[in-house]
């Protein structure tokens, strides 16, 4: 599936809607330093979820996926261990290396640093949605052409990040690439190929394809 344009109206919860739903008690909690009155549990407060598995509906790669996971489970572990979407890799597991990068409402995020429950109401796209070995996306084809991969373990995260980067920076320069793709790490040392691949896609104007 090609990189998708941002939906007109994101489905599910917005920040504003979230605040409305959980009611005044939680909002007051954020203001506790200014108020002598601690927030009280009210009838509007949400029921506590967990610690056991809870049912979730996630929008993954354009499909609604129903999973049952504990609230503490990250989006990354949900993708990998519950949906067998293992293209997103677990490397640092603390938001440093970018190997777990997915798109959340078209923006690249570290899926190791988001809980699956937080991903509800958002459109999640993993590497599995960005092309197939038989039909590579423009970025993926450029990765192959410029050998932007060795062991390949960081590669899917890089491809996702590069896909979003090229979409947002269709006229990127070398300096833009260096400034904009610092969120992914590679141990084999494929940065030269990654840089060449991204610049080629920019040059041919195929970033949206």
């Amino acid at each position: 599936m090609p990189f998708r344009k941002k939906p007109e109206e994101p489905s599910g919860l917005s920040r504003r809607g979230f605040l409305k739903t959980v009611g005044a008690g939680t909002v007051a909690g954020g203001l506790i330093g200014e108020s002598a009155t601690p927030p009280r549990a009210s009838a509007q407060a949400p029921a506590l979820a967990g610690p056991g598995p809870i049912p979730l509906e996630l929008n993954i790669n354009g499909k609604v996926e129903k999973v049952s996971v504990e609230p503490r489970v990250t989006l990354l572990d949900t993708l990998r261990n519950h949906l067998d979407l293992t293209g997103s890799k677990k490397v640092c597991d603390r938001g440093t290396c970018g190997a777990c990068t997915v798109l959340l409402d078209n923006k690249p995020i570290y899926s190791c640093s988001m809980l699956a429950v937080e991903a509800q109401g958002h459109a999640v796209q993993t590497i599995e949605s960005l092309g197939t070995p038989e039909q590579l996306s423009a970025i993926q084809a450029a990765f192959v052409e410029h050998d932007a991969q060795q062991c390949g373990f960081c590669t899917p995260g890089f491809v996702v990040a590069c896909t979003a980067f090229v979409h947002d920076h269709p006229n990127a320069t070398l300096e833009d690439v260096r400034a904009g793709l610092g969120g992914n790490l590679c141990r084999c040392g494929t940065y030269h190929g990654v840089t060449e691949a991204v610049l080629q896609v920019v040059k041919t104007g195929k970033g949206g394809a």
Binding site: E70, R72, V73, D77, R80, N81, D84, T86, G87, S88, K89, K90, V91, C92, D93, R94, T96, C97, A99, T126, I127, E128, L130, G131, T132, P133, E134, L136, I139, Q140, F143, V144, E145, D147, A148, Q149, Q150, C151, G152, F153, C154, T155, P156, V159, V177, R178, A179, L181, G182, N184, L185, C186, R187, C188, G189, T190, Y191, H192, G193, T195
Partner: protein, 712 residues
């Protein structure tokens, strides 16, 4: 008959061309399944509890509370009461549960009581370290001392490199499954063919019943040769519980226990004539690879024929996780110490560094190769225009400088066996028990078969990564490409000759007059007589032909070789107010004999340079001297270079006459050797003082500037 030799340049359709790796599409789409990605029905997750002390005695281990937790399948002590903990990260207990989260949490319920001892963590101060000594003096101590004292130019310096860890993107680990009286294992390994041998005890069955499958692996760099303690634990739990088990190290454990490159430090005295001819080398070197100490440094590196040499090496034992081979073991450290001292000597003599190295090349084993490579590297980096004496005199805080380094490696092929099968429908396949670490081995094997049979690469099915296939060596020490290309060429030639026997009568000639070329079988020297490949293969009837090949080759032909030289030059900027070092340009010139795939060969060099930038500027395992625990066991503070940190890279491969006919030589190690030295030399040239120890972090650079280069 097809000859078991590499084709001449005019007969190469694929060898030496820029060919995209075969597994590029599955990797870039996330379809490649690594050990970490394997999922089996009913699989459980195992985790390891490790000791948080560098030195301690285990008083007791109590797993009973952990086993009561819902979802925990079992918990097992992995040490006995009274056992000694010798490094932080040593495995104390294991646990398996139905989910990763439960396993992670339940581990905290295993109670271990330690009697904590003071760890030996110092590897920097030789006088305070526990050491073993080696001594080597050529010709004798008195002559070395006399030559140094009489030298027209002399330097005395201290140089060093901190210990680092492999930090593979895919942690060490595996999935194990016991079924049908056999063990199935999906490991992340550099050693598919020999992997099972280490697990026979844990599996309780002979290696012949252990099936190993590693199609993709997320980096090894020398740290993944063995099945390891975690392989044995995973296998044992799979056997004991009857459930498939996944056991991957967590990142902090990975960085502490799964391998290290030893630290290295040296005090060097060296002398030269005033025109820059080296006369004497005298060094005391030490370093630590953890519990096992470390091997002696090979200094003076490359320049082994300097007439007067004394080298003393001391191995330091520390309570750290043991060293493992780390891409070009010992070479980067030896290279740094040598090239840094020699550039200091050149600076002291007031001789241009390039001229200095050229003047002393006869002290190396391959002066002609280095001379040519130095010339090319100098052109690529613009040496003539950029070079200046030590210390950039440009006003302002930004100082720019150039640095040079030279290196060598062997790279002969390992033992290898391979089979190539040609089917009656014209398809061809190769089976070989090797592994692709990302270096492009799968692609190299495919290219060799396709080239030999005269077929397009996509017509060849390449099967690697299983121990059912003919055995091939571990991928380490740049031995793979020479091994697998020899055995596979040998096998493909044997299969082709078997096909020729069938085809020859139809073409009315002897089999020895045939050759395979561009999809047809031709009569040599008679363009009118040929048969398309598919038709030729149909003459096989019902039965495919399989050729067996090996390294060494069956007929004794040598298709690989050993011994390469490389040169690297770095152009850096040092901000003397902040201590920050920036790579502007970085050039590598490398020979490796006959190149099978130029694209993945160049990638090896680019990758090594980038890895070397990390070694030179950023990465260092930092340990707490009190607890013995690694303080930066994560990827935020164990720093790897990012895309913006590596500057503009240029790679030049030495190819053509004089190089190609040597045969295939490994390339993984050589280009990773010089970066630390070249960048350190460039920093010295820029800011005018030697920063003694890598990584050249801002604090070290500033300290060196403040102290005039004496400490850091």
């Amino acid at each position: 008959m097809a000859k078991n030799a590499w084709p001449s340049a005019d007969k190469r359709s694929l060898i030496g061309k820029r060919i995209s790796r075969l597994d590029g599409p599955v990797k870039s789409t996330g379809r490649a399944k690594y050990a970490y990605d394997i999922s089996r029905p009913g699989m459980i997750y195992a985790r390891l509890l490790w000791a948080p002390y560098g030195s301690a005695k285990v008083v007791s281990i109590d797993t009973s509370a952990a086993t009561q937790i819902k979802g925990v399948v079992g918990a097992w002590p992995e040490m006995k009461d009274g056992d000694e903990v010798r490094f932080a990260g040593q495995v104390v207990a294991s646990l398996a549960a139905t989910s990763e989260e439960i396993a992670h949490e339940a581990l905290k319920s295993i109670k271990v009581v330690y009697e904590v001892q003071t760890p030996q963590m110092n590897d920097v101060l030789l006088e305070k370290a526990e050491t073993k000594e080696q001594r080597d003096e050529i010709p004798d101590a008195a002559t070395v001392d006399k030559t140094f004292n009489e030298a027209e130019v002399k330097i005395e310096g201290h140089y060093g490199a901190a210990a680092i860890t492999h930090c593979c993107m895919e942690a060490h680990g595996q999935v194990a499954e016991y079924r049908d009286n056999a063990m199935y294992i999906w490991p992340s390994t550099q050693n598919v063919s020999a992997y099972a041998a280490g697990l026979a005890d844990a599996a309780g069955m002979p290696a012949s019943q252990i099936h190993v499958d590693c199609q993709y692996m997320g980096g090894g760099f020398g740290s993944k040769f063995d099945s390891d303690q975690w392989g044995a634990i995973c296998t044992r739990i799979a056997k004991e519980t009857g459930k498939p088990v996944k056991l991957m190290l967590e990142r902090d454990h990975e960085l502490m226990a799964a391998g290290a490159r030893p630290s290295a430090f040296a005090n060097v005295r060296a002398g030269a004539s005033k025109d820059g001819r080296i006369t004497v080398w005298d060094s005391t070197a030490w370093g630590s690879g953890g519990m096992g100490g470390s091997r002696a440094l090979g200094v003076p590196y490359i320049f082994g024929n300097i007439p007067n040499i004394r080298r003393v090496s001391r191995s330091v034992r520390t309570n750290r996780g043991s060293q493992r081979p780390w891409r070009a073991p010992g070479h980067p450290q030896s290279c740094l110490v040598t090239m840094a001292a020699l550039e200091d000597l050149a600076a002291a003599a007031g001789v241009d560094s390039l001229e200095f190295f050229l003047k002393n090349l006869d002290y190396t084993e391959r002066p002609d190769v280095y001379r040519e490579e130095l010339r090319i590297a100098a052109d690529l980096i613009g040496y003539k225009d950029k070079a200046h004496p030590r210390g950039d005199s440009t006003p302002g805080p930004l100082k720019r400088g150039l640095g040079i380094s030279l290196h060598t490696w062997g790279g002969a092929g390992h033992k290898s066996e391979s089979t190539v099968t040609i089917n009656p429908d014209g398809s061809a396949s190769v089976n070989i028990g090797t592994q692709d670490l990302g270096s492009g081995t799968r692609t190299v094997v495919g290219i060799v078969v396709a080239e030999t049979l005269g077929l397009p690469l996509e017509n060849v099915q390449v099967n690697i990564g299983r121990n059912e296939y003919p055995a091939s060596g571990a991928s380490g020490g740049s031995t793979t490409v020479g091994g697998v290309s020899t055995s596979t060429r040998d096998a493909a030639t044997a299969a082709l000759n078997a096909l020729f026997e069938k085809v020859a009568p139809a073409l009315g000639v002897g089999a020895d007059q045939l050759e395979a070329w561009q999809g047809s079988i031709h009569v040599v020297g008679d363009a009118s007589k040929s048969m398309p490949w598919v038709k030729a293969c149909s003459l096989l009837g019902q039965i495919p032909v399989t050729g067996k090949g090996s390294k060494p080759a069956s007929d004794g032909t040598q298709l690989d070789n050993s011994g390469v030289g490389g040169v690297q030059m770095a152009d850096v900027t040092v901000d003397i107010e902040t201590g920050r070092v920036t790579i502007n340009e970085f050039v590598a010139v490398q020979d490796c004999g006959l190149i099978v795939d130029l694209k993945t060969a160049e990638s090896q060099v680019y990758g090594a340079m980038i890895m070397g930038v990390t070694y030179a500027l950023y990465e260092e395992s930092i340990y707490d001297p009190v607890t013995g625990r690694m303080l930066n066991a994560d990827m935020e503070f164990y720093k790897l270079a990012g895309l913006a940190d590596v500057g503009t890279l240029k790679v030049h491969m030495m190819t053509g006459p004089g190089y190609d006919e040597r045969g295939v030589i490994g390339l993984g190690e050589p280009p990773v050797i010089s970066p630390g030295a070249a960048i350190s030399n460039a920093v010295a040239n820029a800011c005018g003082v030697r920063v003694p120890t890598i990584p050249l972090t801002p604090n070290r650079v500033l300290a060196a500037l403040e102290q005039g280069g004496k400490l850091a």
